[in-house]
């Protein structure tokens, strides 16, 4: 985008000079000249009596939908398992593809995943592109972005979405940077603008205090990462037919500078926080590390995971990987049970989009009660054991 002066028409009258808010126009000789300060605000165009000022869009920015087709969902794998959020995104992607009258394609990178990748067709994919290579077993930013860029170049999708997971949020930006295209992080809503046929991406910002709808009108693909658990996983339809393609990629040409050494599993957790449907979280009200055993008992009963406030983490009662909030994780389970947590804003921003919030706190003024669906005012050391007992009977 830039502003151009048609010298043959310009009379050097100077109307644009005074209209320019940035002082970017000067009269040189008998014609106007646009300087570096120009922000392409276009204020000059309307004031020119000779229509000598043009707003020029470079060709690359004129995106016609013609060349770019298809909605792609990147379904990530970790240790050979496809991520749940991938299935959720196939549901969302199906709706987008239908609105655009185009195909939905699932993209999978991994090693020995043919059966699992084919299994995405019942969840709505028209096509599955699998890159099955031993090198792709472990996640490398370099490798994943080079392979995905290669596929994008060859197929030109119009939309590309992936989970807002550690992996997705790490390498999608690299891909977007390379393509000079937009990427919207951690979306909670996706839709198609019926008129312009572009992707409307809605996400929380400022810790969920505001919502913003973002578009990427001029570059392709339109890219977004999407939060876990906000889209609904579709019911599989085993009668669905689709195309499966084992894509050949010349791995020798793909760049990878990092080396994977080892994976160290978090043994303190059976279900990880982001995948959990139910999270039982503890704060300073737990008083000492041993008391997290009580929460663990409740979480196990509900097949959930254990979270914590920063106060509990900073006191070394539980590792940082459990911390929920601004400087920890953002979670969105079906049920979040906050035990002995006051509900400071920095904690709330990490969990306030949970489906149901249950708060147990002895202080009736605790701010956590303001966002709770159920607030139990009382001593957690009485309430939680009673709840465990009641649940065992239920």
């Amino acid at each position: 985008m830039h502003i151009e002066i048609r010298k043959e028409k310009c009379t050097g009258c100077g109307a644009c000079v005074s209209a320019c808010p940035y002082g970017a126009i000067a009269i040189e000789g008998d014609a106007a000249r646009i300087g570096n300060e120009c922000t392409v605000c276009r204020a000059c165009i309307d004031v020119c009596p000779e229509e000598a000022i043009l707003f020029v869009r470079e060709n690359a920015e004129e995106i016609s939908r013609g060349e770019h087709r298809g909605v792609w969902v990147f379904v990530e794998q970790r240790h050979g398992d496809l991520a749940e959020v991938g299935y959720e995104l196939l549901g969302a992607g199906r709706q987008l593809a239908d609105r655009l009258n185009t195909e939905l394609c699932a993209v999978v990178f991994g090693n020995g995943l043919e059966e699992k990748a084919k299994g995405l067709i019942p969840y709505g994919a028209d096509k599955v592109l699998l890159v099955d290579k031993q090198e792709l077993d472990q996640f490398h930013d370099d490798l994943y972005s080079s392979v995905l860029l290669d596929l994008i170049e060859n197929h030109q999708p119009e939309i590309l979405i992936g989970g807002a997971t550690s992996i997705g949020r790490s390498f999608f930006p690299r891909v977007a940077a390379k393509l000079k295209t937009g990427l919207t992080a951690d979306c909670t809503g996706l839709d198609i603008d019926p008129e312009k046929q572009i992707l409307l991406q809605t996400r929380p910002a400022f810790g969920g205090n505001i919502m913003a709808t973002i578009v990427c009108p001029k570059s392709r693909p339109q890219m977004a990462t999407v939060r876990h658990k906000v889209m609904k996983k579709p019911m599989p339809d085993n009668a669905r037919r689709g195309e499966f393609k084992n894509v050949k990629v010349d791995m020798g040409k793909m760049m990878c500078r990092t080396r994977f050494i080892e994976f160290v599993k978090d043994v303190s957790e059976k279900v990880n926080l982001t995948d959990a449907d139910i999270i039982v979280s503890g704060g300073r009200g737990l008083q000492k590390p041993e008391n997290f055993a009580l929460l663990r008992q409740l979480a196990d009963l509900l097949k959930g995971a254990v979270g914590a406030s920063r106060a509990a983490v900073d006191a070394d009662w539980i590792p940082y990987s459990h911390q929920v909030g601004q400087t920890g994780k953002t979670v969105c389970p079906k049920v979040y049970i906050a035990c002995g947590i006051s509900g400071a804003i920095q904690h709330l921003v990490g969990m306030q989009s949970s489906g149901m919030i249950i708060a147990i706190n002895k202080d009736p003024e605790a701010p956590i009660f303001k966002i709770a669906n159920y607030g139990l005012v009382g001593d957690l050391f009485e309430i939680i054991p009673a709840l465990i007992k009641e649940l065992k009977q239920a």
């Binding site: 949020r169 992080a185 973002i214 994976f263 978090d266 669906n373 607030g375």
Partner: protein, 261 residues
């Protein structure tokens, strides 16, 4: 070792409100702080610098007020600070922000390590670090919770994942984004505060950088915000008081009704 730390000045959360008439952010009277995650990047940079007797430069792209964030970094021990500030940079999305930072870093020239916070608390995108690494053509390790080994050739780190952590090794120069677990930031010393007050902060505008002018700011941003609105308020809940057994029974009944159990 030459270290560059990218920091962002952000409004302190909690105080952000939106004007219901205009749907714009009310920023007046909201104090600004260094993005909390960036404090860990600064601290880690200082520790590496002290061990390797290197230098640490802190950079930020932002309005003139971001000078305060840079002075705070100097009070903690940064050697140099650069404010990348120009009206033409305003309205930048993550792509244009990373592009501008990349141009500034290219101008700085030599570096071994770039540190960023995992994410900023205003935008919450966590995208600037990885985008910047791509634009500089260097490898990255995201969500670093620990640096296990570091020398002039390579760095070995623990990268936090949902189910544990990966140990990965990357050649230098590299970019790391860090999480809170990596360290406990220090407080400024009295001497540091004095130094910060007197420090010369370098200011670079678009004219000082070599980039393509149309790639800066709003104009260079592939994404556009078309709407800002308040989230749906949560439905008001039920506050239960009284006897434990009754509260628990009431809760369990509710859980059953919503088919949670």
């Amino acid at each position: 070792m030459e270290i560059i730390v990218c920091i962002k000045q952000v409004p302190e959360t909690g105080n952000i409100k939106i004007n219901p008439q205009t749907n714009t952010l009310i920023r007046e009277g909201v104090p600004s702080i260094i993005n909390p995650m960036d404090m860990y990047a600064i601290e880690e940079g200082l520790r590496i610098k002290e061990k390797s007797s290197g230098r640490m430069t802190v950079i930020t792209m932002g309005p003139p007020q971001a000078d305060a964030a840079l002075r705070e970094s100097i009070s903690l021990g940064a050697d140099d600070a650069i404010l990348i500030s120009d009206k033409r940079f305003s309205g930048a999305d993550t792509w244009a922000t990373a592009y501008t930072l990349a141009q500034a870093i290219k101008k700085i020239g030599h570096y071994d390590l770039i540190l960023c916070g995992k994410q900023a608390i205003d935008g919450d995108t966590a995208q600037v670090g990885p985008e910047l690494a791509e634009m500089l053509g260097i490898p990255i390790a995201t969500y670093v919770r620990k640096i296990e080994e570091i020398d002039n050739e390579h760095i070995r780190v623990h990268r936090m994942m949902e189910d544990g952590y990966d140990v990965i090794d990357t050649p230098m120069p590299a970019l790391l984004t860090v999480v809170k677990e990596i360290n406990i930031p220090r407080l400024p010393s009295l001497k540091g505060k004095m130094k910060a007050r007197k420090a010369e902060i370098t200011v670079w505008t678009a004219d000082d950088l070599n980039g393509e002018p149309s790639f800066y700011g709003l104009q260079g941003s592939p994404t556009w915000v078309v709407k800002i609105f308040s989230p749906d308020p949560r439905p008001s809940g039920r506050i239960l008081t009284g006897k434990t057994s009754e509260m628990v029974a009431e809760l369990v009944k509710g859980l059953k009704e919503t088919k949670i159990i």
